[in-house]
Amino acid sequence: MARAAAANGNSKTLLNCNGLRSEDVKRSVSQCNGEKNGPRTGVASRQHRQEFFEQAPMYVAVMTYLGFGIVTLFGYFRDFLRAVGLEKCHLAQEREEQKDFVPLYQDFENFYTRNLYMRVRDNWNRPLCSLPGPVFDLMERVSDDYNWTFRFTGRTLHNVINMGSYNYLGFAENKEDFLKTVADTMQQYGVGVCSTRQEIGNLSLHEDLEKLVASFLGVESSMAFGMGFATNSMNIPALVGKGCLILSDELNHTSLILGARLSGATIRVYKHNNMHSLEKMLREAVCSGQPRTHRPWKKILIMVEGIYSMEGSVVRLPEIIALKKKYKAYLYLDEAHSIGAVGPSGRGVTEMFGVNPADVDVMMGTFTKSFGAAGGYIAGKKELVDYLRSHSHSAVYASAMSPPITEQIIRAMKCIMGKDGTTEGIKRIRQLAENTRYFRARLKEMGFIIYGNDDSPVVPILLYMPGKVVAFAREMLERNIGVVVVGFPATPITEARARFCLSAAHTRAMLDQVLHHLNELGDGLCLKFSRRKYSSRPDLCNETDFELDS
């Protein structure tokens, strides 16, 4: 662990925020916690604590702001040209007679959309024309008027490597023998259920699925819903209400936030993965109670996610469980990205940390990511799930899960658990873990700044500057690799990134190809900002030496 210790020491100095201001920027505090809190708590094994959120050198931040400044100035200039009439305006305009009325369109709110996004929007919403497995086919589209309109040339880009799908275990596949049971179920039950679970939509398939999910997770009982987003947003209002407190992580997904909002409980946000912030809030909540009346809270619910999909960081589960037991709060764990993707046998973060699943009060997850299907589940004690069956909006009003999808989940889960008699499931989990470790190690060696835990298959590479984000996405497509990039305002202004989602279906050759192109692009676009020296073989410092595993 000497390397880890050295890396820890180096990153401590690098994670220092700049000395220009007296108070810490919220974002860097939440990001600096990985090293400060790790050694002190020592609850779980050290290897799960490796979360680095390295900050790029200052000149990168300055250049990012200059980039946005230049784009903004040009935006104002172009708006002026459009207003004067020198440039064609592609946007919706009001009619001449309505110009004196209250404006129909908010011009300024579309500023970034028309001056920044429109210029680069060929990198998003790319139409696929094949299964989104490890490789896919894209329809080639070009624009004659700088992305205001697109047209298809008719050509297809074949075998573009897919680094954006949440296909962690590779179940988004078309193999006939794997899908045979799904086809049979579709023949037997049809495609749609046409009813809610409470009316006539409760198939025996659903009951089988729920029993299987419960045994997979090691809990008493579970319930499955047709839509993952709706699982969160419709079930949280059934669990908490007015007079309860929700402590939600800073980077929680929209579905959790919406569910919390709909419930009517008071919501407090704590800094991402920061146990001090959470404990402070818990103490304050327990001591002061509700805001004006100071009555005790009816319930305190801590909402966290297993893997945060934009950062790739993993929740600090043992510490949260310790806190929850100390202050008698409840824990809601959303394992959308981590179920099936982490843990030695794919059981999620509870297995990864060696935590008893009974300690987590509400375990939630989705089937969209690792199982190649759609929908979500909530699992926990039998009383909880029985209560949800009759009180949750999703259960009572939303239509039931479609039979072929249910069967797909059942067969995927049986495959993971090994119940189908093959070792395919465990092979895939191991392949994913190996791919993750290899990819992350190689990226760190090359000198990119990546966020997140070493075991998380979500790998965000930080690109920072808006121009580079766009150039990166376009160049990667030229080289037949499809990536997902995100920029401001969806991320903080200095943290635009490209997010890679690894899959068990990616072969080592595909990963090597992607890494080779990343290396070239990293040099060409100057994306290798990391100042930490990382080498998996300390004696071989030659960066271009490829590690060829046999």
């Binding site: 925020c17 700049n18 220009l20 201001r21 007296s22 108070e23 920027v25 919220k26 974002r27 860097s28 900050q55 200052m58 990168v60 931040a61 300055v62 990012t64 702001y65 200059l66 400044g69 903004t72 935006g75 908010q106 300024f108 709110e109 579309n110 500023f111 970034y112 959309t113 209002p237 007015k242 939600s248 800073e250 980077l251 929680n252 929209t254 936030i257 919406l258 919390a260 909002r261 709909l262 419930s263 009517g264 008071t266 919501i267 407090r268 946000v269 809030m281 304050e284 805001p291 934009m310 950062e311 995100v486 401001f488 305002p489 969806a490 991320t491 903080p492 202004i493 200095t494 943290e495």
Partner: protein
Amino acid sequence: MLCGVPSPPMNSRHGPISLRVVEFTGPREEAADEANEKKRPWMNVGVAHSEVNPNTRVMNSRGIWLTYLLLTVVLHVVLLSIPFFTVPLVWTLTNVIHNLVMYLFLHTVKGTPFETPDQGKARLLTHWEQMDYGVQFTSSRKFLTISPIVLYILASFYTKYDATHFLINTSSLLSVLLPKLPQFHGVRIFGINKY
């Protein structure tokens, strides 16, 4: 203060969403729990943070103070390199242009250049008023208040306290300092720049 939202009548069936908004933005709560409840949870689709209005955090981001100082220095150097301008004139020009641009970007332009999920709460607010959701005396606000003052002191020195330069510099400084006072938060004189 910033959010003068009247409390709607309680409607138990459809109430929860709008009612919670009122509870959050009460002035007493903001003053008391500013550290904890500053962040209001909204529906941010497809974003990597739970920030309702990213504009509020821009001035706190890493490196923006440095960028701002660098740009001022670059402006000054560019002006200095014009052969016909004397040094006092250049300093006054730097001061005036800096204050003009600051006034334009911080106190004239209103709203956000992107759509926010809070249904346009900040549409009528200038960037200064949006900073940190209206909380006063944060470090970014202090920095942006002090920097025109420092520039003014330097300009006064380099113009040798000449009367004309003094008048121009002072009026320019006042134009950029007055809107920053907490008493002027949300104030629009004579209805200029109101909508």
